[in-house]
């Protein structure tokens, strides 16, 4: 009997130790991300400004993510209209489809899905590029050429991420609502003026700009997390692979978790 009890205590002890170690690792990583963020913000306000590099990153993150964002937004709007139309029909509330699509997209799906796509596309690319630069000593070379790598590499990506994500979200919002309209009116045969009236009647500007505030936060988070993962890569090609995966996973988790708390705070 006492043996079983000892085993049980041992198991609990091990579990607590493991939990504690994971917690320590998590806080250490969070601390280092915050340090990089502080350093990036400091370099952001000090001249010289990296305008050319920032523009290059805006094109890299923004323009090149646009096609995927468009496809995702239009199909999300379409399926949302389809599902809510058939669902709402059960209690004769089909007229509300326009409202549901507009509110879901602007408040939630626009920023979150755009964030997840940019995390997968641009976040992975940032981590892989910076990671490769780290393992091939290009970041050290920047230092020896009297160039602060945080200023040269991290700041442009951080600015680009923060301004590009809300911009992409605006486009995703519009395209998503149009997608919903297309399915409701053309495929399901609802009245188009009812759809638009229901969209505008219940949509408030705060729905849109609070969604965009979320998008700004997601953009900043993706950039700083991905840069962090790339910047501190070690261990050659395998390390670059791990950094890339880590960047996508951590960015996506951050988006999904922070989305809840941001929503609870912004949409009271």
């Amino acid at each position: 009997m006492s043996n079983v009890l000892l085993k049980l205590i041992e198991c609990v002890g091990r579990a607590i130790t493991l939990f504690w170690q994971v917690f320590l690792l998590f806080t250490e990583e969070l601390g280092r991300i915050m340090l990089l963020l502080c350093s990036a913000i400091k370099q952001l306000v000090l001249p010289p400004f990296e305008l050319r590099n920032t523009f290059k990153q805006v094109v890299e993150i923004g323009i090149k993510s646009l096609p995927v964002v468009l496809i995702t937004a239009v199909f999300t709007g379409m399926v949302l209209a389809l599902q809510s139309y058939t669902g709402f029909k059960r209690f004769n509330a089909e007229v509300m489809v326009g409202t549901v699509v507009a509110l879901s997209i602007t408040r939630e799906l626009g920023p979150v899905l755009t964030g997840l796509i940019v995390a997968g596309r641009a976040g992975a690319a940032m981590a892989a590029e910076l990671g490769t630069m780290r393992v091939t000593e290009q970041i050290d070379a920047l230092e020896t050429l009297a160039t602060n790598p945080v200023k040269y590499l991290v700041v442009p990506r951080f600015i680009a991420g923060t301004i590009i994500l809300p911009s992409l979200t605006v486009i995703a919002d519009i395209i998503g609502i149009i997608g919903g309209f297309f399915v409701t009116v053309t495929v399901l045969g609802a009245n188009s003026s009812v759809y638009w009236r229901r969209t505008w009647d219940y949509l408030e500007t705060s729905d849109i700009y609070n969604g965009l505030i979320k998008a700004c936060f997601f953009g900043a988070a993706i950039a700083i997390i991905s840069c962090y993962k790339g910047f501190y890569t070690s261990g050659g090609a395998e390390g670059v692979g791990k950094a890339t995966t880590g960047a996508v996973v951590l960015s996506s988790m951050t988006i999904l978790i922070s989305d809840y708390f941001l929503s609870a705070w912004l949409f009271k």
Binding site: T132, T136, E137, Q138, A141, E143, T144, A146, N148
Partner: protein, 252 residues
């Protein structure tokens, strides 16, 4: 002049540098030799300030660079040029943009003027017509030459070489040795090279220092090193597996 005084550095439990002392006179070519994992790279990274010492100091003309603020450190680095082991060229930029990087960033030169200077520096290292190529289109030896052109582009006073001949065929390695000697004569720079290639060390060094178990155990001219009585140095320069130096991970 570079002076390293009682330098200690540990990474976790791995105590890499254990009180290294080294003095490099102005205009001198110093070569630091030592086995793989002896801390040569760590030493050279301290000289340019990308690593901070746990204790000890690195004096450049009497100023301890470990105590400089971030801005002062970046200012000081403008006096340095460094050639990396794998050249570390920026692979997103053309060859000339690599060479002209510091000029365009710190010298505020116009693109046209910077490209002209880049071409001139590339000619100095024996390359012509490669300005508009990407680094991925170059061979290993050419990359090293471009790396060297980038290191000398802003006319530094101190040049650091991280294993300049590693990974090159013997003829290309010798060509790089000749270039290093030429750079020293033409630009009258102070240089520090780390290598385990003894042929290269004898050729480019005014003085050689041996790093072993975290400290400098011997310094001298190439002739003095060749004729040393120190058993550790003898084993290293003759390249013998038998002797006082234990090979890591191998039990006799």
């Amino acid at each position: 002049m570079i002076e390293i005084v009682d330098l200690h550095k540990a990474f976790g439990r791995n105590h890499v540098l254990r009180g290294a002392n080294l003095k490099v006179e102005k205009g001198e070519s110093m070569v630091v030799i030592g086995g793989s994992g002896s801390g040569k790279s760590v030493l050279i990274k301290h000289i340019i300030g990308t690593l901070k010492p746990d204790s000890g100091s690195i004096l450049i003309d009497g100023v301890d660079i470990a105590k400089l603020s971030e801005n002062e450190l970046y200012e000081t680095r403008k006096r340095f040029g460094m050639l990396f082991q794998m050249a570390a060229l920026f692979d997103s930029m053309k060859v000339w943009e690599n060479v002209a990087f510091a000029l365009m960033r710190h010298g505020k030169l116009k693109e046209k003027d910077a490209k002209e200077i880049a071409s001139e520096k590339l000619r100095m290292v024996g390359l012509m017509g490669v300005e508009d190529l990407m680094p991925s289109e170059l061979s290993g030896g050419m990359k090293k030459r471009v790396g060297l052109a980038r290191a000398i582009a802003h006319s530094p006073e101190i040049l650091l070489y991280d294993e300049p001949t590693t990974g090159l065929d013997p003829i290309m390695a010798d060509a790089i040795n000749d270039l290093i000697i030429e750079m020293k004569q033409r630009l009258s720079v102070t240089s520090v090279a780390i290598t385990h290639d003894m042929h290269s060390a004898y050729k480019i060094a005014d003085r050689i220092a041996m790093l072993y178990e975290g400290s400098i155990i011997a310094t001298g001219t190439p002739d003095e090193i060749k004729n040393t009585d120190n058993a550790i140095v003898r084993q290293f320069i003759t390249g013998s597996a038998v002797g006082p130096i234990k090979i890591e991970g191998v039990t006799a």
